[in-house]
Symmetry: C2
Subunit: 297 residues, 2 copies
């Protein structure tokens, strides 16, 4: 399941709970588009803001609606104790894989993080994907640590935060990581603006935020890259520059995609957990214009 297009849907919510109907609608949209896997409760799915009960319910719903498409969920939490409980819940819900970010409040050392993955990987019965995203976890992996963790049992993929913009540098970056991890562990790119470059550089999977809302658009890029048509993948990604600009302008993809989901009526406002909010005013108008002009689906 750690190949192709992995779509990360939002978890629409309001102050009193998760909007299950809206979430179900988003997952149905992914099933219809035929994505390779679904990454529910990723950072985009606001896992960090939900209670244990809410996370279990969302995982169950995703598995139920996804049918044959494998579902992965994040089991990230500050404490190893809580990660283990979340892993148990998720496995009971029937997910096919677990995504583990080294979430931090106090700064983590490499040894802390290795021991977290060591403990968790030996206590689960489904494959694990390592989540490397310093923007949210505030932990910086290095390749030596990636190599050690990738050799642990059950580890099957690494979600990297992006690749350099230049194709040759991107390939060098992926090759360096590939050299220290076993062959059965895939490398997945995230940071949607880097996806075509990353796939062209040898990443086997795109862990994609935009695919959670616009799976057809993301699938076209993935299919072209994985069929070896690097130029077409780059062209399709280049076309989305106005969207990548919005991500830069609004501090990442999270709020832009949630705003787009409201605009496309997949969700209603509020869809994010306070104090986070979607974008209003002029920014919202700009987002509406871009998603319409690009014809994202």
């Amino acid at each position: 399941m750690f190949n192709g297009l992995s779509a990360f849907p939002l978890t629409p919510m309001h102050e009193s709970g998760v909007d299950e109907q809206a979430f179900a609608h988003l997952v149905e949209n992914l099933v219809a588009a035929g994505v390779s896997s679904i990454g529910a409760l990723g950072s985009t799915g606001s896992y960090a803001y939900l209670s244990r009960t809410e996370r279990q319910r969302v995982a169950q719903l995703a598995v139920e609606i996804a049918g044959d498409i494998p579902v992965m969920v994040s089991i990230g939490a500050l404490r190893t104790r809580d990660v283990l409980l979340l892993a148990e819940d998720a496995q009971k819900s029937g997910v096919k894989a677990l995504l583990l970010p080294p979430v931090s409040y106090q700064k983590l050392t490499d040894d802390d993080v290795y021991s977290l993955y060591e403990t968790v990987s030996s206590n689960i019965s489904v494959p694990l994907c390592v989540y490397d995203n310093p923007g949210t976890t505030h932990f910086e992996f290095n390749d030596e640590l990636h190599g050690r963790i990738a050799h642990l049992p059950n580890v099957r993929s690494i979600k990297i935060p992006g690749v350099p913009h230049a194709p040759d540098e991107a390939k060098a970056r992926v090759d360096r990581l590939r050299a220290v991890i076993p062959g059965h562990v895939t490398i997945g790119v995230s940071g949607d603006a880097f996806a075509a470059t990353g796939l062209n550089a040898g990443c086997e999977v795109w862990y994609s935020v935009i695919a959670g809302l616009f799976p057809i658009t993301a699938k076209a890029i993935t299919d072209a890259a994985l069929a070896g048509d690097a130029a077409e993948a780059s062209r399709l990604s280049e076309r989305l520059q106005p969207l990548w600009s919005l991500f830069r302008e609004f501090g990442g993809s999270y709020r832009v995609i949630a705003t787009a989901a409201e605009l496309r009526q997949f969700t209603t406002m509020p869809s994010l957990p306070l104090p986070l909010r979607t974008i209003s005013g002029e920014g919202r108008k700009k987002i509406a214009k871009v998603i319409d002009e690009l014809g994202l689906t």
Copy 2:
């Protein structure tokens, strides 16, 4: 209560819960030393790693043991929803003040943070201290925002992360903040190595990590500074350079102080929540040597 020495004790814990006896022992030590207030469940008190039930229990214990010394607890959480519940719990426990850090996973905007403080400050009946510590919250305040928040009802103090090393620059920094906040809001310095400089520069309170374990040592610095003897405060702080060096070497005060608490048998190992651990090997020996040579109490 937002003046003088505010001591932030550890919350000793293991994987199955809080070590209540060890926590009680730490608080008794603070009462005996006569600190001005107790900041239970601060970052040093690992609030972010505890469940709601555990946090309420620790707050109750602190209040019970502190007697006449006012207790403040952190109500930090990623969601406004959870912050409000924690505020309710803490007030029921009898705390005299609440400490609110703008904890983040997805990056917060100034507007998000203002709205968080606006909502919380209008829903509480005890004073609030604003917690500014980008090292753990990953949110950077600016003085304009501090000014707006300081004018909200119930806001009575701001815990700043430190001051510049040079006394005149430290004074300029405190003066700039003072100019935008009302007179009834005190400024408290944290980052223990900066405390003497901060108090000498006009901070009214030291929100102190070392005071949670070594209250007598911290009180001597505070008393000198607040009595106007800047030179003596600086001398006493300068004497602790080997301790400040350890904080720099081990990424902050948190692990060093927890290790010191184990060494002084206030707690037993493990005292931190996994994946966090205290310092072992050569580092531990170095810490033992420093706390003994400095005669910290």
